[in-house]
């Protein structure tokens, strides 16, 4: 009886499932609902109705009595079963024997049912096979009897009690008011309402994944069939279940839930166990009363042959019960359920993401409480109905603690998971970045890590790429020349012979010493080291210093939004050692993440957040103690020259780890990084003469970057690449991911989650960022999340925490500041880019999900800027006029034609012939302008302007339709 009541409640609400055990939950949702119910129930209907109509009713009454007694026994046995599974199984067997005696059909059906039910109740091990059997049965869908048996089997343990509860519901209100009964009706009522609404909603919410539209029609059929076949007992049970036609899923869940309840009761919950006992007693009374009710209920059922009529009858009965029993709770539950679905306006994105959220939240079953919380969150967030049901089932106790506990658990677990959700663009990027390994299963199995394969592939590519050669960069000073003249491996080698690599290192050294002393208090320490020699370690230190300096500058200047960058920067700066230390510090975070991560890509994503936190912590620590950070920085930071050296293999790895971008993009990225490097070197060279000059140079790049985002980015990227190269690839990967994710997620949370779910999710994410930071900072971040957080000089860590809110608020300045930082922390930018959100673009683009990657955009922007600059240069009338003069001179001074059929350009113009711009430009560029004394080339567009200025009719070679002109 207790099983029945609890099982019924559980069945109705998936929340209950969650409540009991995580494992149970998993089994419940996917396994049973669709297949078993669908297949088994339809067959039963025909047989059931025929049998149930007239003759069976009296027999049912008798059976019910019999069953009631059995129910008693079973309930007792179940109680004992809680302690001993074997006993429970035996009791079930006895029950099954009882039922078959009444009806041969029922007997046939029952034995299989009872067996699985016993198994379920008895032990978890048995449950699993039961599920499999149920699915098999549903798949077979051969005969109505076995199917019905399966369906009933789910109920059967219930059946023994179920007829009683139904009777109770109907009869109890009139006859016996008891607490146990009240609980049962409540559960039933909730089930009905939940089933009706919940399944639909479920389908809506998780439409594709969880929703089984087919099962929905079947469940209604099941109750009907159950009624006739199992006689009244089955009928009532089904009736309870039936009201929602889509019960199938519920049934499955309920089955699992019932099992779970038993287990749960056995394991921990004394309260529920007690309740079932009471219910049993009450049920006994009800069972007696039920006979009388049977007559009433059965005719009603007969009248309303269809499931709909059953549902209506049930509802009416339920209402009656509610009045007599403790109905205050039940009515409350039902309205809440109805209200919740109505209240929630569901968006397509929610529907699409709900499926992912659910598993993520639920997947982390550390403890029952956590599970419960997760479920509640998931249901509340995605589905309001089931959550309500859950609350009802466990009672008032579960609700309060669950909600309170939810935020905590969520924050811990949810962070990595939440990060998993990526914006479409970022997701696409990840997909594009994923490497596909083709081969036979055996090959793939024997193959080494995909990471290794990828690294190998990238390394090969990098070695083959002319651009990737670090040596080539220093040689070619001009970007344009460099682009035109693609450095090849051989050329790079020649340069190596020249020893340009040394030059590069020297440049880095020069850069490093200058910035630290001037800008940062910490700098002095590195500056001391700097003079010693240009060793990689020193270089690393220098970079760090420069980055810090930039950060400080940024912070100092309100216009520059340094908030996000400082974190990144710090993270980048952190060396392997630091990272390792960080890992050690936050093992808990990473550990949970690792198992969750389904794919390497995900792993990468997960890894970053902890690193960020760690970084933040480090930053927070370092900030109060300026001396500490510099000391760490030199060790951690890799020198830019090293980065170049590393570029071939490690750069590619880093890029892959960061951005998940396509190979093409990587190449472009590498090119950009190298260019940026060259720029840095140039600037450094300019300031090489004196340390002061160096300082200025280091400062200059940042300043330059700040005004011009496009130009600044490439530099940053280059710097980032350098830093990334220095850092070990594995460590680097988590770092980039972390910055991007925390930013993206917080955005999502505030945008989507925070408004509906209140502050909890938002708070949890900020916590991630701010974990390392002091609690006060965290509080600040929470408070400031929506207000534009001002970049405080001292609070680099705080800035990181606040960064996400700033972006949302559309604080363009902070992202700019990030851009400027690049020199020191190009890796930061890179990291952001792969994951999609660069600080600059993040405010605009990052809506709910992670921000899209900006590297491609950056490149385009740079190109655009260049074009614009060209245009601007050309625009001045003076220059134009001069150019026009040369063009006119070239045209008019050209010798006149000797062939009337082919006039010169000048003669064509004099004859008003339409001039083809491309041809004229080609002619001008083919030495005519040089002849006139103009050093340079002319674009067709310039020629067009000239023609317009000279009243010359000009046309493009191709018309607007892209076809060659056939007439003029």
């Amino acid at each position: 009886m207790s099983r029945m009541a609890s099982g019924g409640l559980l069945l109705a609400t998936p929340a209950r499932m969650a409540h009991d055990n995580s494992l149970i939950i998993i089994s419940s949702s996917p396994d049973f609902p669709s297949i078993n119910d669908l297949l088994a129930k339809p067959a039963k209907k025909s047989t059931l109705r025929s049998g149930s109509n007239a003759v069976q009713l009296p027999s049912d009454a008798v059976r019910t009595f019999m069953t009631a007694a059995s129910v008693w026994r079973s309930a007792q046995s179940e109680e004992s079963d809680i302690n001993n599974a074997v006993d429970g199984i035996r009791a079930h067997r006895t029950q099954s024997c009882d039922t078959p005696v009444l009806d041969p059909k029922a007997c046939v059906k029952l034995p299989p049912k009872t067996a699985p039910t016993e198994e379920q109740t008895g032990a978890k091990k048995q449950r699993k096979p039961r599920n499999t059997t149920g699915t098999r049965r549903g798949k077979l869908a051969t005969t109505a009897l076995p199917e019905s048996g399966t369906t009933e089997s789910v109920n059967e343990p219930d059946v023994v009690g179920a007829p009683a509860p139904k009777l109770r519901k109907r009869s109890k209100p009139a006859k016996d008011p008891a607490g146990g009964q009240t609980t049962l009706p409540k559960g039933k009522v909730t089930k009905a309402a939940a089933k009706e609404r919940a399944p639909k909603k479920k389908t809506e919410v998780v439409s594709r994944h969880f929703a089984t539209p087919a099962p929905v029609p079947n469940p209604p059929a099941d109750p009907i069939r159950d009624e006739p076949i199992v006689l009244e007992q089955a009928m009532r049970r089904r009736m309870d279940w039936t009201p929602p036609p889509e019960n199938i899923t519920n049934h499955a869940q309920s089955d699992s839930s019932a099992v779970k309840e038993v287990s749960s009761t056995a394991l921990t919950d004394l309260g529920p166990a007690k309740l079932p006992q009471r219910e049993l007693f009450e049920n006994l009374l009800d069972n007696y009363g039920c006979q009388t009710d049977h007559g009433q209920g059965s005719p009603a059922v007969a009248a309303g042959a269809d499931t709909n009529s059953d549902i209506l009858g049930k509802r009416k009965l339920i209402e009656l019960v509610a009045t007599t029993m403790d109905k205050s709770k039940t009515p409350e539950v039902s309205p809440t359920k109805s209200k919740v679905p109505k209240k929630k306006p569901r968006t397509i994105t929610e529907l699409a993401t709900a499926a992912y959220r659910m598993p993520e939240e639920s997947d982390v079953p550390t403890s029952t409480e956590k599970l419960k919380q997760d479920f509640l969150l998931g249901y509340f967030g995605a589905e309001g109905e089931p959550a309500g049901n859950i609350n009802n089932v466990p009672g008032g106790k579960t609700k309060g603690p669950k909600k309170a506990a939810k935020p905590r658990v969520f924050k811990k677990k949810a962070d990595p998971r939440k990060q998993i959700l990526l914006s479409p663009t970022s997701a696409m990027k990840q997909v594009s970045g994923q490497d596909f390994v083709f081969g036979t299963a055996s090959q793939l199995a024997t193959e080494e890590d995909p990471e290794l394969l990828r690294a190998l592939h990238e390394a090969m590519k990098a070695s083959n790429q002319p651009d990737s050669d670090p040596f080539s960069i220093p040689v070619i000073s001009d970007l344009a020349s460099r682009r035109k003249v693609v450095n090849k491996l051989w050329a790079a080698g020649a340069r190596d012979d020249d020893g340009e690599l040394l030059d590069l290192e020297l440049l880095d050294l020069t850069e490093s010493p200058v910035p630290p002393p001037d800008l940062l208090p910490r700098i002095p320490v590195p500056s001391q080291k700097d003079p010693v020699c240009p060793s990689p370690v020193q270089k690393v230190q220098i970079e760090i210093q420069s980055s810090e300096y930039d950060l400080f500058d940024l912070t100092g200047s309100p216009a520059l939004p340094t908030v996000p960058e400082p974190h990144f920067f710090l993270t980048q700066v952190q060396t392997k050692e630091k990272k390792k230390a960080i890992v050690a510090e936050s093992p808990s975070l990473q550990k949970p993440d690792e198992p969750q991560q389904p794919s390497p890509v995900f792993d990468v994503d997960f890894e970053p957040p902890p690193s960020n936190q760690e970084h933040n912590q480090l930053i927070a620590q370092s900030q109060p103690q300026p001396s500490v950070s510099p000391t760490k920085a030199p060790i951690d930071i890799p020198p830019p020259p090293k980065f170049e050296l590393w570029t071939d293999a490690k750069l590619a790895k880093e890029i892959a780890s960061y951005g998940f971008k396509a190979v093409k993009k990587r190449e472009t990225r590498i090119a950009l990084l190298q260019e940026c490097w060259e720029n840095k070197q140039k600037t450094a060279l300019g300031g090489n003469a004196e340390q002061a000059a160096m300082l200025t140079s280091s400062a200059k790049p940042a300043a330059v970057l700040s005004p011009g985002r496009a130009r600044g980015r490439p530099k940053k990227t280059s710097a980032a690449a350098a830093t990334t190269a220095a850092a070990p690839p594995v460590l680097i990967d988590p770092v980039p991911a972390s910055p991007s994710r925390p930013r993206g997620r917080p955005r999502k949370d505030p945008a989507a989650l925070s408004p509906p779910a209140a502050d909890k999710p938002a708070g949890g994410r900020p916590r991630k960022n701010s974990r390392s930071a002091s609690p006060a900072k965290t509080t600040k971040t929470k408070a400031k999340t929506r207000s534009p957080a001002p970049s405080k000089p001292a609070a680099a860590s705080s800035v990181s925490a606040v960064s996400t809110p700033k972006r949302r608020k559309v604080a363009p300045a902070p992202p700019k500041a990030v851009v400027e930082i690049p020199d020191s922390d190009a890796s930061d930018l890179d990291d952001e880019d792969p994951f999609a959100s660069s600080p600059l673009t993040s405010p605009e683009k990052q809506d709910i999900f992670s921000s899209p990657p900006h590297q491609a955009k950056d490149i385009s922007i740079t190109e655009d800027t260049e074009d614009v600059s060209i245009m601007t240069t050309a625009s001045p009338t003076s220059q134009q006029a001069e150019l026009f003069r040369y063009i006119s001179k070239a045209i008019t001074t050209a010798p006149r034609t000797t062939d009337p059929a082919e006039p010169s350009w000048h003669e064509k113009m004099l004859m008003y012939d339409p001039i083809i711009l491309e041809d004229l430009a080609t002619w001008l560029n083919s030495g005519q302008l040089d002849r006139v004394g103009y050093d340079g080339e002319v674009a067709p567009h310039d020629v067009k302007l000239w023609c317009h200025n000279k009243s010359i009719c000009c046309v493009w070679r191709v018309n607007l339709h892209g076809k060659a002109r056939k007439r003029f």
């Binding site: 026009f884 003069r885 006119s888 045209i891 008019t892 006149r896 034609t897 000797t898 062939d899 009337p900 082919e902 006039p903 000048h906 003669e907 064509k908 113009m909 004099l910 004859m911 008003y912 012939d913 339409p914 001039i915 083809i916 041809d919 317009h948 200025n949 000279k950 009243s951 010359i952 009719c953 046309v955 060659a964 002109r965 056939k966 007439r967 003029f968």
Partner: protein
């Protein structure tokens, strides 16, 4: 150019302003080498009317004014587009742009402001001034007094003036002409007077407006015949500008458009000479001359006319044959009357050159009678019709 078969400058190519006679606010801008035919199309009397002019309630349409003299279809289309999209065209520098779009279409493109006669006239005035079109051998025609008054108003209002060499002619309906005896603007006085004289002389002749426009090369028949004669008989002599010998088959040589003058010169020499004579500050860097004095006869020559003849002689062998052959026939039948009729539309040249033209016609006739030209006669006739 190279791949495309070059054509001579068309006899006529116009950009016209179409107005509904029913609703004067309904306007349309188009381009055509044959305004009468195009007008019939707009009015539904011929196939190929524009959809915008297909509404029956707005028909019939009338051409209230047009710009003629476009040296090519491309140039006419460019001008038409610029006039239609005066809010977009790059030919108008932004400081002087008159029409500005304030709305955007669904596709994001700026919406074209509704055009009024005043806006079209003002933009026409502007486009005739912009450097892109200022040197073209254009000619402005007005066929409705009301539109012409609008034009005049705008000319007085506008701070900038058209180049004085731009001819503006009016050809109103008979009644309208009587009402406005002196419509001529300062620019077009001479031309207008000639036209009026012609019209007065031929009161019985109804054609006016677009119907009086020459659709073929007939008005320059004498000019073409002169050029043909000169190079046929190798009378080119020396370049009138540089004095060097003109080699007929080796280069491009322009001929003075004045009937009695047979001045021949290199194309570049002519342009250099005419540009030098224009005495404008900007002209030192300009490529295209507009008009000038013939160094030989010191008569005024229009660069557009010279180029039309040159391109016709250079590339329009067929057209020349037709023109000359048809002339021979017509001359045989109608003689002098034809000449006067032609002269009406031809403005300055024809009247003075009639007598001389006759003599050349005979010469041309003789040339045309050469056996090689016999085959082309019929085709030429058809085209003329």
């Amino acid at each position: 150019m190279n791949s495309v078969q070059p054509k001579p400058i068309p006899a006529l190519y116009t950009v016209y302003i179409l107005r509904s006679t029913v609703r004067h606010a309904s306007l349309y801008i188009g381009s055509t080498p044959n305004p009468p035919r195009r007008l019939r199309q707009h009015n539904g009397d011929a196939q190929g009317g524009a959809n915008r002019t297909s509404r029956k309630t707005l028909r019939p349409w009338e051409m209230v004014g047009l710009v003629s003299g476009f040296p090519s279809m491309v140039s006419a289309l460019k001008f038409e587009w610029a006039l239609t999209n005066s809010h977009l065209t790059a030919h108008i520098p932004s400081p002087s742009r008159l029409t500005v779009s304030t709305q955007r279409k669904a596709n994001g493109q700026p919406r074209r402001p509704s055009a009024s006669m005043a806006s079209i006239i003002s933009n026409l005035h502007l486009l005739l001034r912009v450097p892109s079109f200022s040197s073209w051998p254009l000619k402005l025609h007005f066929f409705v007094p009301e539109v012409y008054t609008t034009w005049q108003k705008w000319c007085t209002m506008s701070t900038e003036r058209l180049r004085p060499s731009l001819p503006v002619v009016t050809d109103f309906e008979r009644d309208a002409v009587l009402q406005q005896q002196q419509p001529a603007s300062s620019v077009s006085s001479s031309v207008g007077e000639d036209i009026e004289m012609e019209q007065q002389q031929q009161t019985q002749v109804t054609p006016w407006g677009i119907h009086a426009l020459p659709l073929d090369y007939k008005p320059m028949k004498e000019y073409v015949a002169k050029g043909h004669e000169i190079f046929e008989f190798e009378k080119e002599g020396n370049c009138v500008v540089c004095g060097e010998a003109v080699e007929a088959d080796k280069g491009l040589h322009a001929i003075c458009s004045n009937n009695r003058c047979e001045g021949v010169g290199h194309l570049s020499c002519w342009s250099r000479h005419l540009l030098a004579g224009e005495q404008q500050q900007d002209r030192d860097t300009s490529i295209l001359p507009i008009e000038g004095q013939c160094p030989k006869c010191h008569g005024t020559v229009q660069w557009g006319d010279m180029m039309k003849e040159l391109t016709l002689r250079l590339r329009g062998g067929k057209e020349v044959e037709k023109l000359l052959k048809t002339r021979r026939r017509r001359v045989a039948h109608k003689a002098t009357a034809k000449a006067t009729g032609k002269g009406r539309t031809k403005a300055t040249e024809t009247v003075k050159a009639k007598a001389a033209a006759r003599g050349r016609k005979k010469a041309a006739k003789a040339m045309a009678e050469s056996p090689r030209n016999v085959d082309g006669q019929e085709a030429g006739v058809v085209i003329l019709d």
